[in-house]
């Protein structure tokens, strides 16, 4: 018996251990967040009011700690060792997620347990750990953010699936407990059942992808699919699996035709949770789509023409491209037209967040380079401006109920000029007005789309931006220009100051981040930098013609 196989096996074992270690170190920030979740649960049950009130602080601290840890642990060598599909994706993305997560946490301070805390404080009720839900709320909050962060470092389908579910499951509960109202329960039930359907859909798609590739590891899937594409085109199983997976994930990003739940659920949940739903599951879905599309790649696909000859074309496989194209066009249009018809500010923003998903899909279609970079940049911009807009709604109330209708905002500038200005800035940024953050996101996306030859989609996006200006202008006009109605006179700020702090800091970020547009774009480039080169290597190795 020769010594060599034994040595090889030992080396393999050592290699596998190194890979595992690299992966474990990569997810240290997520471990910090999980620890934070446990701490939040305990603090939320504490007898002391001060400790209970410190729960959100623990959440914010763990988010900030995780954010600072990300650049330390996510080095290029370690990402390489972990064998990720997009090695550097997790670094800027996770930092941005933590930052926006902290903002979302500020928005939700003062949301849960308000009445019962008042009862405890006034002595009408004795402290009862069964009745407080603050700890659960913040723990689920952190769990969901953890799931989102894990998506970005996923390296196999199981990990991806579990991370997506970890993102979604807590949100069902968060919707239900966000406010003591039947509508919240209704929204949660709707969200849960449709979410389960979507999960089944993309799990079925994942199974097909596994059948097509024979492996669950994303990088290996990429190699298998590249070889298939070079040898004669992707199999029907792979394409079908991918389309099913896309449709399932479309639920997370609220893209047509899986968007129907969004308006009802977003309206039923309390504003801070709506802000959360509009960013966290959406970002998870976008990142998941990026990884899934990355397995088939944006190069080297071909179609067979009538004479049986293979014609190579740029971009995604044809069937996937058409599916995404239709999804993008429908999502943008349905979202914006739907928003146009709303009289409730929350429903309007819900539809508008559908539309923003449509814009981002353009970047996914465009692929590595400008396309994916622009999606990442847009996610950041969207996260900041959408959260700021919801934070203003969360920071105001009328007779103890959160405000919902647009009419409640009329004349806001008279009594709360800063909040009105923040609303105008967020709306301007959502329109895409220069020089605000949203403009750069849109510009980048449009450049990415045009560079991939998707002129039709960019023109549809232009038309949609114009439609969106119509309804976003109401968010500018009502607070700043209209006289207050008697209904709007009764609107007062919530007791907690933090949603307003989040709104103002979001508005400040919208104004100031454009000054940092160069480093942000470079960060987005860094996130996907290793991706296109890898595809080229694989394709050359598989003998496909150079694109």
């Amino acid at each position: 018996m020769s010594v060599a196989p034994v040595l090889l096996a030992q080396a393999d074992a050592a290699g596998a251990a190194a890979v595992t270690l690299a992966r474990l170190i990569l997810v240290v920030p997520e471990m910090v967040l999980l620890t934070g979740a446990v701490v939040a649960t305990i603090l939320g049950l504490s007898r002391s009011r001060a400790l209970r009130d410190a729960t959100p602080a623990a959440v914010v601290i763990s988010l900030l700690a995780a954010m600072l840890l990300v650049p330390l642990v996510h080095t290029p060598e370690r990402a390489e060792a972990a064998g990720l599909l997009m090695p550097m994706l997790g670094k800027p993305v996770r930092m941005a997620i933590c930052a926006i997560g902290a903002m979302l946490c500020l928005v939700s301070i003062g949301l849960v347990d308000r009445r019962i805390e008042a009862a405890f404080a006034s002595g009408r009720a004795a402290f009862d750990p069964i009745r407080v839900i603050r700890g659960e709320y913040y723990a689920f909050f952190l769990l969901s953010v953890t799931g989102l962060m894990l998506v970005s470092t996923a390296n196999d389908l199981i990990w991806l699936f579990l991370a997506l579910e970890l993102t979604s499951l807590p949100t069902y509960i968060m919707v239900a407990i966000s406010r003591p109202s039947r509508r919240a329960l209704e929204a949660a039930v709707k969200y849960f059942f449709l979410g389960a359907l979507a999960t089944a859909t993309f799990l079925y798609g994942f199974a097909m992808l596994y059948g097509a590739a024979g492996t669950l590891i994303l990088t290996e899937m990429r190699d298998v699919f590249a070889a298939q594409a070079a040898a004669g085109g992707l199999g029907i199983l792979a394409v079908l699996g991918l389309i099913l997976a896309i449709l399932g994930v479309a639920y997370k990003i609220a893209a047509a035709p899986m968007h129907f739940y969004a308006a009802d659920v977003y309206e039923g949940a309390a504003s801070p949770v709506t802000a959360f739903l509009a960013f966290v599951p959406k970002a998870a879905g976008m990142l998941a789509l990026m990884l899934l599309l990355g397995t088939v790649g944006w190069h080297g696909h071909s179609v067979v023409d009538d004479s049986g000859a293979r014609i190579f074309h740029d971009g995604l496989p044809r069937a996937v491209l058409y599916a995404l194209w239709i999804i993008a066009a429908m999502t943008m249009t349905l979202g914006n037209v739907g928003a146009l018809l709303q009289s409730s500010a929350k429903r309007m923003l819900a539809y508008s967040s559908i539309a923003h998903s449509g814009y981002m899909i353009i970047g996914l279609i465009a692929g590595p380079g400008l396309g994916l970079n622009s999606v990442l940049f847009y996610l950041l911009a969207y996260g900041v401006m959408n959260t700021a807009a919801f934070a203003i709604l969360a920071g105001l109330e009328r007779q103890g109920e959160e405000i919902e209708s647009l009419a409640d905002l009329a004349g806001l500038a008279r009594r709360h000029p800063l909040l009105a200005a923040a609303m105008a800035i967020s709306a301007g940024s959502l329109i895409g007005l220069p020089p605000l953050l949203g403009f750069w996101g849109k510009l980048y996306l449009f450049i990415g789309g045009i560079q991939a030859g998707q002129i039709g989609l960019v023109i549809i996006a232009c038309i949609n931006s114009a439609i969106s200006a119509w309804y976003y202008l109401r968010l500018v006009g009502l607070p700043l220009l209209s006289p207050p109605t008697p209904q709007a006179e009764a609107v007062v700020p919530t007791p907690s100051i933090w949603p307003r702090v989040a709104a103002l800091s979001g508005a400040a970020a919208i104004l100031l981040l454009p000054l940092l547009v160069q480093p942000l774009v470079e960060a987005a480039q860094g996130a996907t930098s290793a991706t296109p080169a890898d595809f080229a290597v694989v394709l050359r190795g598989a003998g496909a013609p150079a694109p």
Partner: protein, 565 residues
């Protein structure tokens, strides 16, 4: 840095005006705008590109390296002239608003100065993205100026204005990005947004279909801004509802963003398509000239009348541009400046009346000349300038635009392609007659005739408790606002040559793609194969010569045809 100061000074003044107490903000705004004017005058004196086609005041800074976006500024003589117009109108607008705006002054002056900064940015931009940012940013201040300080219908006006122009310019952005993409494909994926580089690329490398698409996209944005006939409907409403200074800036410089965009992008970037579609665009502008003039004829609202007259006048401007020869283009650029001066002044005059009587209804007032002789003098003066009385500025530019269209015939005897022709000029010329009719009717109604003062405000002061009661006739401040405009109108009317000489170089540079086409075409036809290049006097002189030779040519051709069978 000189160029950057044109943007930074008004921006700094805007911040200062917003920061100081309300009662000081108008003085701060005035001081800031005077500094801007002084800076403009100094820069104009030392400006190195008058009369040439070159760009001066260049300054560049990298902005977004991965995408090739730069913070590049620079001005040729046309841009510089429009910047100076903007700088000049600004202090007049500020001073003209002293009594009209009594509430929320800080916001008012801050938005106005911010608007001026953005407009200067548009004229000075040498990078497509920076141009677009400034172009779009002009919407925000004007939206608020109209929506906060406008008339009773202000909300609708501001939203309509915003949506029209925003929608149009999105397509312009898409078109420009498309050009940049094509350029990056040709340059192996290196992106640039430099206007000069993209213009060079697009004019030589794009196919006719691609140029047609780009032209369509550019027109979508710029035609709305001009505004050209079918998409002009936002303008009368916005003008009527805007506060006086907003109207002045809107007419004076913001409409010029559209024509300047056509001049800077459409003409040099997509020559083949422009040549093909020039008759169509010229037809639209002629429809606009006549249609808007007819609407003016039946207006009761004097401000709306002047607003529609802007639509009519800008039609001449576009017609001159799309004559595609230096005479027409020069006339068009001159028109941009002259329209800014005389229509801006007319809006100021009407604003002064509105401040006193709180009405713009022409039937409600008449014979104001007896009551307000100084005002009547200026009103008549600027009306005559606007309708193109020889000796005043309007005439020169109107004549050049029409003349450019007239000599823009197919025979290419001018050395430039001739998409239009005498018929275009003749029909557009009817607009001048109509302009004389509606403007003189307006004068007859409100300045002359039996004295009648609206609303019984016969005591010489307005009865609305305005803290600064205005005198019956113009106050010295108001006269000081109008005099500089009147002097410039007269000066340009009497001696336009310095100005036309100054902008000639860049006009010829902009039309260079056409000259090349024309020369190539005329090589086969040696007769009249020269470039009509220098000032208008020489242009006029030469333009008559080809007409003779052309007649001879056709006679010879006819003889040959007669001989052939």
């Amino acid at each position: 840095m000189t160029a950057a100061l044109f943007i930074l000074i008004p921006l700094a003044a805007a911040i200062a005006a917003a920061a100081v107490p309300s009662r000081l903000s108008h003085w701060v705004a005035l001081a800031g705008s005077m500094v801007l004017v002084a800076h403009g005058l100094v820069a104009a004196v030392f400006f190195g590109a008058w009369g040439t086609g070159a760009f001066a005041l260049a300054s560049e800074a990298t902005w977004l390296r991965p995408l090739g976006i730069e913070l590049a500024l620079g001005a040729d003589s046309v841009a510089m002239a429009l910047v100076l117009l903007n700088c000049l109108l600004l202090p007049l607008c500020v001073a003209g608003s002293f009594t009209a705006v009594q509430e929320r002054q800080r916001e008012y002056y801050a938005w106005m100065l911010g608007l001026a900064a953005a407009v200067n940015g548009v004229f000075l931009a040498r990078d497509v993205v920076f141009f677009y940012i400034c172009f779009e940013f002009t919407l925000i201040p004007l939206f608020f100026l109209i929506a906060i300080f406008g008339g009773p219908n202000r909300e609708r006006a501001s939203i309509k204005f915003f949506l029209y122009t925003f929608t149009g310019s999105l397509f312009t952005l898409a078109g420009l990005l498309y050009v940049a993409w094509q350029a990056s494909l040709a340059a192996d994926g290196a992106w640039t947004f430099s206007i000069a580089a993209l213009t060079d690329f697009a004019s030589t490398q794009l196919s006719a279909e691609q140029q047609g698409m780009v032209l369509l996209a550019l027109m979508a944005g710029f035609a709305v801004k001009v505004p050209l006939f079918p998409v002009h409907t936002w303008l009368p409403l916005a003008h009527t509802e805007a506060p006086t200074a907003g109207s002045v800036l809107l007419a004076g410089v913001l409409l010029k963003l559209g024509t300047y965009g056509l001049f800077r992008f459409a003409l040099p970037m997509v020559p083949t398509a422009v040549e093909e579609y020039a008759p169509f665009i010229a037809t639209l502008s002629i429809i606009g000239i006549l249609y808007a003039a007819l609407i003016c004829w039946v207006q009761d609202d004097v401000k709306r009348l002047v607003a529609y007259s802007s639509v009519s006048h800008l039609g001449f401007c576009v017609l001159g541009l799309f004559a595609l020869n230096p005479v027409g283009a020069q006339g068009s650029v001159l028109y941009m400046i002259n329209h800014g001066l005389s229509t801006g002044a007319l809006f100021l005059c009407i604003g002064m009346i509105y401040e006193r009587f709180h009405t713009r209804d022409m039937d409600a007032m008449s014979g104001l000349a007896r009551r307000m002789p100084v005002w009547a003098f200026f009103m008549v003066f600027f009306t005559l300038s606007s309708l193109g009385l020889p000796g005043l500025n309007g005439f020169v530019s109107e004549f050049l635009c029409l003349f450019g269209a007239f000599i823009s015939t197919r025979d290419a005897t001018t050395g430039y392609p001739g998409p239009l022709g005498p018929w275009y000029a003749a029909i557009a010329g009817l607009g001048m007659i109509l302009a004389a009719m509606y403007l003189l009717i307006m004068l007859g109604k409100i300045v002359f005739g039996p004295p009648k003062v609206p609303g019984g405000a016969g005591h010489g002061h307005d009865d609305h408790g305005s803290p600064s009661a205005l005198p019956t006739d113009l106050s010295p401040r108001e006269i000081a606002v109008l005099v500089p405009l009147a002097v410039l109108c007269l000066a340009i009317g009497l001696q336009p040559k310095p100005l036309t000489d100054a902008i000639e170089g860049s006009v010829i540079e902009t039309l260079r793609p056409y000259a090349r086409l024309a020369v190539a075409a005329s090589e086969a036809q040696p007769e009249g194969g020269f470039v009509l290049a220098e000032g208008i006097d020489r242009a006029t002189e030469r333009a008559t010569r080809p007409l003779v030779s052309q007649r001879e040519h056709s006679r010879l051709a006819g003889a040959e045809e007669g001989a052939a069978p």
